[in-house]
Subunit: 325 residues, 2 copies
């Protein structure tokens, strides 16, 4: 039996091209201190929760749409997503004047459904798993002649997300570790491609909920594994299976993928609000949960560490409930 | 009868010198977008809630301490404050290895008392008004040979706070309006001195709670007025009287001082959490309350407007209660 040829990984050139392509749509987000304590200066937070549409996802979506000609997009675009990619695609499509359809799970947070509709997208609900919404999206894609913009497993999406890594190195040239929340692995793949090209000695650490450890399990197995189920307060990190391409990046480039439990996700949301004065959704705080698990507090971080806050789309009553806890 | 000679105002040179003096202690805070909506790009928030010790106050305190010789500070420093200046002085003193005493009102928020003690300061409680704690602080100053670092009415304090204005102009060179929360008026005075020197056409607008309108009332009267009482959720904006020097700056340099009501302060805290993903205390959100009063939303701001988030020292249960409301 002959092994499959390895999938080609996204290059630094791909990511730099993406950065130029999306510069009119995505924002350069701030890299802020992880605490207002004068002695806590080594932990920095990359604020993708302040990105357009509230998450890093606009980077990949905008990069992919920019690769198509206007006439190719005329009938519209479609995707499947639990929320943040949905909002990002809807936002990017509206900025280009292109119709968008989004297939979301019936369990999607209301704030993410409303955010998607606010950008004018047509929201279709299908099941609760990534597989169910993907199959419905593919059916609609072919029935209506739409362009599919997948949530993570595509080189143009990964290259777009990788622009986060470029900005981290620009703002923190001596970065020692980067912690990245892992849903399908698009952000992890892109950031790892950028960081390892620019700073080979820096460590890239993926973080996923213990209840949705698809990338950890896949790396241990040596190939993508499909979980039977996934459950976590981190609703953006629940895909049952990493992508083939995101997995290939993780295996080749990522130093480590760690898991965090539900209490630590809530603690991290509170920590970020109290110490850094930032509102982050539980999925976006997974990176900080892993930092706290390893170091204890921002003041105990001795070398430059960056935690990516990947999103901030959370309803006020939900963040209030976590903060009051 | 001969009028008093006008008080000399802080100059751009004073502020630039302060910036150099405090650069090792205070942080350069980020100027972020006021919303994640792609169409809301003109409102920016100056994040002094992310400053060391959680408020702009460290700038003035550090500048003033740096003007003294080490031997002059040997017996320690003292101040009176409702909270944020207390924490800032305690923090700056600890960084210099100098003892600090802080006189706080019996009504100071626990989070600010604890923050002050965490920096090693000796907290003394005295009454509920600025006048009561000032008189107790002056008594202790003379009894113990301490150096007084007043919360706002001193040219070195004002020059330190003015460094916020320098950074705003650097990061937003075409700034059209700057909204500044007003407690005793130190931040307003310093920012106005910087902005008017660098961008004479930009408008500087002070904002205070309707329940503590000491600067508005004083400007209307033509000289500093002492309120009979003050009440607001914005606990950092409750001095009963502006300083003589801060008033002189406001009269000479500030275009307008507006008031905001209690509901609009709470609404502004929620707006900043929902739209900008930032945790701010009610005092620090007064600037945003005034922007929303004038424009309606961030998307309706057409020219570059900066709202200073002056502080973020609020307990998690208090911010949770406001967000859940």
């Amino acid at each position: 039996m002959i092994a499959d040829a390895p999938l080609p990984l996204v290059t630094l050139d791909d990511i730099r091209s993406a950065a130029a392509r999306i510069s009119g749509i995505a924002r350069r987000t701030p890299l802020v201190y992880g605490s207002t304590s004068p002695s806590a200066t080594s932990l920095r937070l990359k604020c993708e929760n302040m990105q357009v549409a509230g998450a890093f996802k606009i980077r990949g979506a905008a990069n992919m749409l920019a690769r198509f000609g206007r006439d190719e997009l005329a009938d519209g675009v479609i995707t499947y997503s639990s929320g943040n990619h949905a909002q990002a695609l809807a936002c990017a499509a509206r900025l280009l004047g292109v119709p968008a359809v989004v297939v979301m799970p019936t369990t999607a947070p209301v704030v993410k459904v409303n955010g998607t509709r606010a950008f004018g997208a047509d929201v279709v609900f299908a099941g609760t798993t990534s597989a169910e919404r993907k199959s419905e999206a593919e059916r609609l894609q072919h029935a209506r002649g739409l362009v599919m913009v997948p949530p993570f497993d595509h080189p143009w999406i990964i290259a777009g997300q990788g622009t986060v890594g470029l900005e981290i190195v620009e703002d923190c040239p001596d970065v020692h570790e980067v912690y990245v929340p892992v849903g399908g692995g698009g952000l992890l793949a892109g950031v790892a491609a950028a960081i390892k090209a620019l700073r080979p000695d820096a460590r890239v650490i993926g973080v996923e909920p213990a209840g949705a450890a698809k990338m950890s399990r896949s790396l241990a197995a040596g190939s993508p594994v499909t979980l039977e189920s996934a459950a976590s307060i981190a609703d953006g990190l629940l895909p049952l299976r990493p992508g083939d391409l995101t997995f290939a990046h993780a295996r080749a480039l990522v130093d480590e993928v760690v898991t965090v439990d539900e209490d630590s996700l809530r603690d991290a949301v509170r920590y970020v609000a109290r110490e850094a004065r930032i509102v982050v959704e539980p999925s976006g705080a997974a990176s900080v949960a892993a930092v706290l698990q390893r170091y204890g507090s921002a003041a105990d971080v001795a070398r430059p560490v960056v935690a990516i806050l990947s999103g901030g789309n959370i309803a006020l009553d939900e963040i209030a409930a976590i903060l009051a806890d």
